[in-house]
């Protein structure tokens, strides 16, 4: 059996789904559970080709409910387990995700957003932001990385396993159909060769040893009898989430110090935003760029500072304001005004952003 899929590091020209599969293998995931839905299918295709070579497993389930719940089962037995989905599959998977939140199960979910509502398109959108950050019947105790490039997909898929197992909150890699299907160059690497320590999983259930002699029995519950009992559980989880959030938060801010307007975007749209900012800066406009990498927890304090300073934001997204809701909630009280480019289910080009800013500045 081959030991490692990637020795050292190398340049590759891959689709995003392929990158995720490579990253999951390199990040020492043990098992994937999945159900077909476009545009994430090739994650399963590449995983199932590589998995047997590295002693890893795969189960194709009957639906996304099952893919999510079997993933939780895998984690409970001490495996680094993950699944991938999109669109209506993401909707179904909110149910297992809420169980992962309640029981602090470090499952990893890769979401390749497609158009919505409903079946919509199989192609692209940023319309699964609200669902991925705050879906399910819960309070959003989860970590969501929004990727912009294939390098992000590789880096953050590896990181997602570490974040999940370190903090014991379910962790999401939020991509989209463009990233999933597009081919671009990426450096893939053995994380350990780069000094990235991969956190080892430990079982919740079925630990070795004899109950009552050399280990305690484990009883995991998600049902509580009274309002007060639940309140204690939720509040202690909130406290813990808030206390680790500053360590988890990631963002990219450029040219914001003297900016008169800052483009705020996430995911693949931030690539257009970055090009637009560079082009406008070249033409003498004082434009900045802010991209939250984590949508949960959200870099709220950092963005508020930027907003207070620039007084104007342009929020750009391939949805009808889902990301903007996060922005507004997090900078509430700031005097900054917000312009928007909302294109639900449609890509955004740098030209549109440049034109919008030139027209308004």
């Amino acid at each position: 059996m081959a030991e490692k899929p990637i020795q050292g590091e190398r340049k590759a020209f891959l689709t995003g789904n392929e990158v995720v599969a490579y990253a999951a293998v390199a990040g020492e995931a043990d098992i994937m559970y999945g159900y077909p839905i476009t545009p994430q299918n090739e994650i399963m295709h590449y995983w199932t080709r590589m998995a047997p070579k590295y002693g890893k497993r795969f189960l194709q389930t009957e639906d996304e409910l099952s893919a999510g719940f079997t993933t939780l089962g895998g984690v409970l037995s001490g495996a680094k387990a993950f699944t991938a989905t999109a669109g209506p599959g993401n909707t179904l998977m909110q149910e297992p995700m809420s169980m992962a939140e309640m029981m602090r199960i470090p499952a990893v979910f890769v979401i390749q957003q497609r158009g919505g509502p409903s079946t919509a398109t199989v192609i692209y959108s940023q319309q699964e932001v609200t669902m991925t950050t705050y879906g399910g019947n819960g309070e959003g105790f989860r970590v969501v990385y929004s990727t912009a490039t294939h390098q992000d997909l590789f880096d953050y898929t590896i990181k997602a396993f570490n974040t999940a197992w370190k903090y014991r909150f379910p962790t999401f890699v939020l991509g989209d159909g463009y990233q999933a299907k597009m081919r671009e160059s990426v450096t893939i690497y053995d994380p350990q060769a780069r000094g990235i320590e991969l956190i080892k999983p430990t079982p919740y259930l079925g630990k070795p040893g004899s109950i009552g002699k050399d280990r305690e029995v484990t009883h995991m519950r998600n049902t509580y009898n009274t309002e007060e009992e639940l309140y204690e559980v939720v509040m202690s989880m909130a406290k813990e989430y808030d206390s680790v959030a500053p360590e988890i938060v990631e963002f990219d801010a450029r040219e914001v110090d003297d900016a008169e307007i800052v483009i705020v975007s996430h995911g693949v749209v931030s690539r257009a935003a970055l090009s637009a900012m560079l082009e406008l800066r070249g033409a003498g406009y004082k434009v900045g760029y802010f991209r939250p990498v984590t949508l949960r927890p959200f870099p709220g304090d950092q963005l508020r500072k930027v907003a207070d300073n620039a007084k104007r934001l342009l929020v750009v997204e391939s949805a009808l304001g889902q990301f903007n809701k996060l922005v507004q909630t997090n900078i509430y009280g700031s005097a900054a005004t917000i312009d928007t480019i909302f294109k639900p289910g449609v890509g955004v080009t740098s030209e549109e952003i440049v034109a919008k800013i030139k027209a308004t500045l």
């Binding site: 099952s66 939780l72 089962g73 079925g206």
Partner: protein, 250 residues
Amino acid sequence: MSVAPRMPKCWREESKPHKFCPGCGHGLVLKALGEAIDELGIQDKVVFGADIGCSLLAWDFFNCDTVQTHHGRTTPVVTGVKRANPDLVCIAYMGDGGGYAIGSQHLFNAAARNERILAVLVNNTQYGMTGGQMAPTTLPGQKTETSPYGRDIEQAGYPTQGPEAVAAITQDGAYVARGTVANLRQLKGFLKKALENQMAGNGFSFVEALSTCPTNWRTNAAKTWEFVEKEMTKYFKVGEIKAPGQKKEA
């Protein structure tokens, strides 16, 4: 002074008396299951998944590792555990609503894939925890909160024959039986064989247990036993339905 009946060794004393209603069959099914676990000496290797519904009250019933899940989702959780660690003995414990209605796709697909798990389904002909609504197993004419004039087979069909359906779609290696709380020794035998079948790696194991719900049936002790022994067995035949190596009936 009378001596209390012996509890199975794998029962958790601290959670007894258990949380089920007086006269409920769950305690009997879990007694039979506990004795089977004891006899096989597998307490340390068992992962017990408790479905939502009355089954959830079993979440701290055993001194075995246990996880509560969601309504209908115990089969996939336990499947996920078993797939990642085949050395464990995995039991999905559910009611008729969890297994035959909201979780039917999981039960039947796990069966079709011949997952090496044991699903135990407690059939008491209605939804207990939510207050006595009609279930897939409600008998024709039986009154429930959502069939107050009796189950109308024109509208709601006949009771689901779960073990027969599972037997029909499983390959050789599966073990399928229907027991009853009215015959605990037989039920324990079925559960033990089913666990052995999983441990041998033969295939999917499924045991339905006919059970009682005097609370929602609104029956006294005599009527409760009459219902489980006489009425339920008109539709649900007790016995072993499929075992590895047995030829399928033509």
